[in-house]
């Protein structure tokens, strides 16, 4: 059995994003969940979020973000060897979504799979892309993270309705001589499996017409405590795996869970003032797996970084599953839909 002799590294060539058209502002949500105006912003740092409108679906957002990443990277869809679709909101058992998205993009030569790791899905997909490239399996991998969370969110639930939102982001990862995606530091902690779940399960929902819709139920305190306790070790490990320290970073792009958690992370991790911290959550909400590529796209549009700058990505979410890695920031970014 022969094996590939190539030993390339992985680099992000382009970033794509799609922000849904409908802006949902805080007064609209505040009324639904019964809190005073101003309460949402003071508790979450979110001033608005976006929901799908005008025919936007999980599929159309994924296709738009993927198209944008390909255009930004200037790589033809036909050259994509693998398309990884990270999402927790494809609301059917089969078919998976990745084959249709690949077809719409024209990625006819690609292997395709859906990756399910909740909010950590993008960083795991990026690690999967890096390892495919380093192993010689693929030369071009399109990682798309897309979420249509509003259908599984209870619009009257204080813990989730003000937080979760829709959107899609993508990166095109290619083979290169120099490493642009560092080693991943990752893990899961199944003891906290109940911290974020959808209830009821679909079969229970079907069996009992008296049950309500299946929606996300979150114990934010447990998740936040876990993240704050473990993030210093995760970040230290991700940096040292790439031979770096905090002072080498130009940007920090954590999962956009909640602005207060981002603030606490910045303090707990002693992120230097010189590091740009992604705070896309203010206008985008928490888009689960899509939050990091959306935040990265916003950072690039704002011009806060220059190509080759190093950014630390850190994702965590239901499971609990986490992943962190350092990337070299690309120059190319393209966003469609509502502008940030």
């Amino acid at each position: 059995m022969s094996a590939s002799l190539a030993a390339p590294e992985a680099v992000i060539r382009g970033v794509g994003a799609h922000r849904p058209l409908r802006v949902v502002d805080n007064p609209e949500i505040a009324e639904r969940i019964g809190v005073p105006a101003g309460w949402i912003e003071s508790h979450t740092g979110i001033t608005q979020r976006r929901h799908t409108a005008g025919g936007e679906t999980l599929e159309t957002m994924a296709v738009a973000a993927g198209t944008n990443a390909l255009i930004a990277a200037d790589v033809p869809a036909a050259d994509v060897d693998c398309l990884i679709l990270a999402s927790q909101t494809h609301l059917t058992q089969t078919p998976p979504l990745a084959p249709l998205v690949a077809h719409r993009l024209g990625a006819h030569a690609a292997g395709v799979f859906d990756l399910k790791a909740a909010c950590a899905g993008f960083c795991l997909g990026l690690a999967a892309a890096r390892d495919q490239i380093r192993a010689g399996t693929s030369r071009h991998v399109l990682v798309i993270a897309a979420e249509h969370i509003s259908p599984i969110t209870d619009p009257t639930d204080r813990d989730t309705a003000m937080i979760f939102a829709d959107g899609a982001g993508a990166v095109l990862v290619t083979a290169a001589e120099e490493s642009g995606v560092g080693p991943v530091v990752w893990g899961s902690q199944g003891a906290l499996i109940d911290a974020l779940v959808s209830r009821p399960g679909w079969l229970d929902m079907i069996a009992d017409p008296g049950l309500g819709h299946s929606v996300l139920v979150m114990n934010g305190k447990d998740l936040t405590r876990w993240v704050l306790r473990h993030s210093p070790a995760i970040v230290e490990a991700a940096l040292s795996a790439s031979g770096l320290t905090l002072t080498d970073l130009a940007a920090f792009v954590p999962h956009q869970a909640n602005m207060r958690i981002i603030d606490m992370l910045v303090e707990r991790l002693a992120i230097p003032d010189t590091v740009a911290v992604a705070r896309d959550i203010a206008v985008t909400g928490n888009t689960s797996a899509a939050s990091i590529p959306l935040a990265l796209a916003a950072l690039l549009h704002q011009g806060g970084t220059k190509p080759g700058d190093l950014a630390l990505l850190m994702a965590y979410g239901a499971g609990v599953t986490y992943a962190a890695q350092v990337i070299a920031v690309p120059a190319a970014v393209r966003t469609t839909g509502g502008q940030p």
Partner: protein
Amino acid sequence: MRPGTRTGHAQLLGVGGYRPDKTVTNAEAAARCGVTEAWISSRTGILERRIAGPQETLAAMAISAARAALDRTGVDPADVGCVLVASMSHTRQVPPLAPDVAYRLGATTAVAYDVSVACSGFCYALAQAADHVRSGSTRYALVIGAERMSDITDPADPGTGPLFADGAGAVLIGPADTPGIGPVTWGADGGRDQTITMTSTWAQAQANRAGPPPAVTMDGGRVWSWIRSQVVDAIGRTLSQSGVSFDDVAVFVPHQANGRIIDMLVERLHLPDHVLVARDITHSGNTSAASIPLALDRLYTERRARTGDLALLFGFGAGLAYAGQLVTLP
């Protein structure tokens, strides 16, 4: 940025399976969908299948299969760094299945995520896990296929009711000095993604609570012609890109879709007589992502697998998507 150290190669270390206790005969399956026993056996090659009971949850079956694979190797679950679960029948939106499986298995520091691409899910997950090992992201990885297809199958549908079944299979992989898992061949035809689909999405079922529960439905004729052309070609490429022919292959383990499909593949691929063809479908039915590791497991329990044998694994199904690779049997 320092790139990280590669491991080199990956190999299969152990195989395990879990088959539910309850056997459903063709007589029972036939009565449920209004056909005869002979109709089922002649059209599917299936004589019986296993259906999971309430205690045999997806996670429980996945854990049992993974433990069996670990037991054959002596590797401690705590040393597993990565757990990938392939399934199309995890019927809760959040969280994914893998973290619970990893935690209860004792792989408490492993990263765990789900790979969802229906019946080809196991071969996709195996390819990805092999790359995680080769790239140095993990040392040991568990690849598990687990299905409770009975939860999403209408027993009254003759096209799917007698076909789909439950179970779980797993392989442990780890680093190797020589290639033990060959390059993957993968692809999809998403333009035909409705060939195998659900009768309704969960969103539709939620909006229409009086309607029938979502169930797998498929256009068997279109599936057949896709396999006959694209999958057969892809299997040929799997061999050619590794520089081998069927002369070098000892075992063929296709997705256990249907006995007639396996017969067609054997004929179209001009498989030489010496190639052992896995036909676990006869007693296990079509267990989707679990079918390939379960079929491998049977080769071990029947003592027909020989260490060092070259085996061709090939998964195909809903998407429409396929993936496969050559492996050296542990």
